[in-house]
């Protein structure tokens, strides 16, 4: 996958381990996660709640708080390893070259500061520009994400915006300094579908036009199908399957991915009960030994007592971590 078009990937994560050292024990929120994102491409990071998606995002932003810490691996941003980088270096990158959009738009804007204050500070944190110029750019950014009468809206406080509008504002803030990489943590989950569609469209356009790479964290496979170029499926802190969107969604190999796709309602399943994955995500504090998914997996057997290694089932760039993948999918002609 690396070097598919010869360029350096915007982000290359290798064997990332982010652990939380709590009193109850070590929580391996992210364990040996590797992926990379090329300029202008969108990686969909999919998984259930508590699978480590958000912590992966925060790790890339250098925003993992105590008692969490990056315990191993590399986060290479345009070739520069950021693991162990100084706080000053992080501060230079954050919001400037790497931006993040948070999940809950109701919580991401400071309730007591005006929108202009919150936008201008994001520009002035990285560039020595006048307030007027920063304001001008903020206004343009609001216009870009489709906020009507941006001049007036700049003077408003967050509570005067609806949830969708607030998320647009935080997207506008993420775009302010034209970052090379955007980590979007379920940015459309709290929004209604029409706004979601608009934002997805804008995001896609942005990546195409500016070459911004994007990591789109979500649990919504339909969003991934429409937006992402590649998809990585996370389960209990590990990547279990990784490949291009077409491959993974059409021919899921891992039983977990299989289950996820099976549980998406669609027209041709009308009237039939939805398949579901039995059980719940295991607590990261006491993961079962071996494959973490074995307690819920219909294919689990004795072999699953040992943790599966990463394999390349089709010999290409697809990656898989399973003893009993649905290899029959590879043989089938996609419907």
């Amino acid at each position: 996958m690396a070097g598919s078009n010869g360029s350096v990937p915007t982000l290359d994560v290798e064997n990332l381990q982010t652990y939380f050292f709590t009193k109850a024990g070590v929580v391996k929120a992210v364990d040996e996660v590797s992926f990379s994102v090329q300029p202008g491409k969108v990686l969909g990071l999919v998984g259930e709640s508590g699978s480590g998606k958000t912590v992966t995002g925060f790790s890339i932003m250098g925003l993992v708080d105590e008692p969490g810490r990056i315990a191993g691996g590399h986060i290479k941003f345009r070739g520069e390893d950021l693991v162990g980088a100084s706080e000053d270096r992080w501060q230079q990158l954050r919001g400037n070259q790497i931006a993040m959009i948070f999940q809950d738009p109701m919580m991401t804007l400071n309730p007591v500061l005006r929108i202009d204050t919150q936008m201008i500070e994001a520009i002035q944190a990285h560039e020595n520009v006048s307030r007027d110029e920063a304001r001008q750019r903020s206004r343009d950014a609001l216009g870009q994400v489709g906020i009507p009468s941006p001049d007036e809206r700049l003077k408003a406080y967050p509570h005067q915006f609806s949830g969708g509008m607030r998320q647009r504002v935080s997207i506008a803030i993420a775009l302010l300094n034209k970052p090379d990489l955007i980590v979007a943590d379920e940015p459309t989950t709290a929004l209604d579908v029409t706004i979601q569609a608009q934002i997805l469209y804008e995001a896609q356009k942005l990546c195409k036009e500016t070459g911004t790479a994007m990591i789109w964290i979500t649990h919504d496979l339909t969003v991934v199908a429409g937006l992402a170029d590649e998809v990585a499926v996370m389960y209990a802190g590990r990547l279990v399957e990784h490949g291009s969107v077409d491959d993974v969604l059409d021919k899921p190999l891992h039983p977990y991915t299989h289950g996820l796709i099976g549980s998406v309602p669609s027209r041709n399943k009308r009237g039939k009960p939805l398949e579901q994955i039995p059980g719940m995500t295991p607590s990261l504090l006491n993961l079962p030994p071996g494959c973490a998914f074995k307690t819920r997996c219909p294919r689990a057997d004795a072999a699953c007592e040992t943790a599966p290694d990463v394999t390349k089932p089709d010999g290409g760039h697809r990656l898989l971590r399973c003893h009993h993948p649905h290899l029959d999918e590879l043989a089938e002609v996609p419907a």
Partner: protein
């Protein structure tokens, strides 16, 4: 806004009315000022004359109505002791108390917010734990005892600061103030610290609790994700949020600071209105007591009003029109 203020002032009038009735009847029940005011040697005729002159021969309701009638014209009566208008007497002493209370409040805010924020940002550090232990002492040690101990240490043993009185004062806009001269500041320092200790502990606790809550909010993480510097996050994003509860409580507590400066004023012989009140209660000088409490009630009402207005400035989500006054 105007409606809001008018409604508030009308409520204040009602409160003052009830309060005056309670205090008036309270003091009436406590004792007869005649016994204190008129010397035992005075003959019966002198006694009668004096009682009639003070209006104390009339039944309670007549006395009260007479007081009310005069109060509506701005006359709260004459002190039995000083034979001066009670209001004037109190207003003369007010600047001293106000100076003391404001200085104490300033100390509490200027020291309390940084200490509290520090304790909230690094809750596990030794400094934070010492600050919090100190604040418990501030809460629990009685003011008069701390005052006496301070006096013993700084005035008697070390001899650094004068123990009593107000020192040199000068006039600013017709008000006597002591902070303009070094001698005045030396006199002011100990009583102000003594009075501020309790509020300082309160501000520390509020700031710490606020900081600990705010620092974990998503918007702080988002500000960090924007690359905003740590200093700006603390001084703008965190501080502005914790100011909301701090200003509210401090504002409301300011009335208490003025009212409870009585103890500090008594310990340090500070010539403020609290000391006047204590003396007046001892002498059953009813007009002064009633006038004092009326002023305190007004003060509370005005402070509440100012706090509400400040609150709406600090927290954009609050608008005065929506507030039920």
């Amino acid at each position: 806004m105007t409606v809001f203020i008018i409604r508030r002032l009308m409520q204040a009038a009602v409160v003052v009315f009830f309060m005056s009735f309670l205090v008036f009847s309270g003091v009436f029940v406590i004792g007869d000022p005649v016994d204190i005011l008129i010397s035992d040697e005075a003959d019966e005729e002198d006694r009668e004359r004096a009682i009639a002159a003070l209006g104390l021969d009339k039944p309670f309701h007549i006395q009260y109505l007479r007081f009310l009638g005069k109060a509506l014209q701005g006359d709260l009566g004459e002190s039995f002791i000083f034979e001066e208008p009670a209001l004037l007497l109190i207003l003369e002493r007010m600047p001293a108390t106000m100076e003391l209370a404001l200085f104490a409040l300033l100390l509490a805010v200027v020291l309390g917010i940084p200490l509290g924020m520090w304790a909230g940002l690094k809750p596990d550090s030794v400094a934070a734990k010492s600050i919090m232990t100190g604040s418990i002492l501030g809460f629990s040690l009685p003011t008069f005892w701390v005052g006496i101990m301070m006096m013993m240490l700084f005035a008697v043993m070390l001899g650094w600061l004068p123990s009593t009185g107000r020192g040199e004062t000068s006039e600013i806009f017709g008000l006597e103030v002591s902070f303009t001269s070094w001698d005045g500041i030396r006199h002011l320092l100990m009583p102000a610290i003594n009075l501020s200790l309790f509020k300082l502990a309160l501000v520390i606790r509020l700031s710490r609790a606020g900081t600990k809550e705010v620092i974990h909010q998503d918007y702080i993480k988002f500000a960090r994700a924007k690359g905003v510097s740590r200093n700006r996050i603390i001084l703008v994003h965190v501080l502005k949020n914790i100011m909301i509860p701090v200003v509210t409580v401090i504002g409301l507590e300011f009335g208490g600071l003025v009212a409870f400066s009585i103890v500090t004023e008594t310990v340090f012989a500070w010539p403020g209105m609290g000391k006047l009140l204590i003396d007046s209660i001892g002498l059953l000088d009813r007009p002064v007591i009633v006038a004092y409490l009326t002023i305190i009630v007004f003060l509370f009402v005005i402070i509440n009003l100012v706090v509400d207005i400040l609150y709406s400035i600090l927290d954009p989500r609050v608008r005065l029109q929506e507030m039920k006054a």
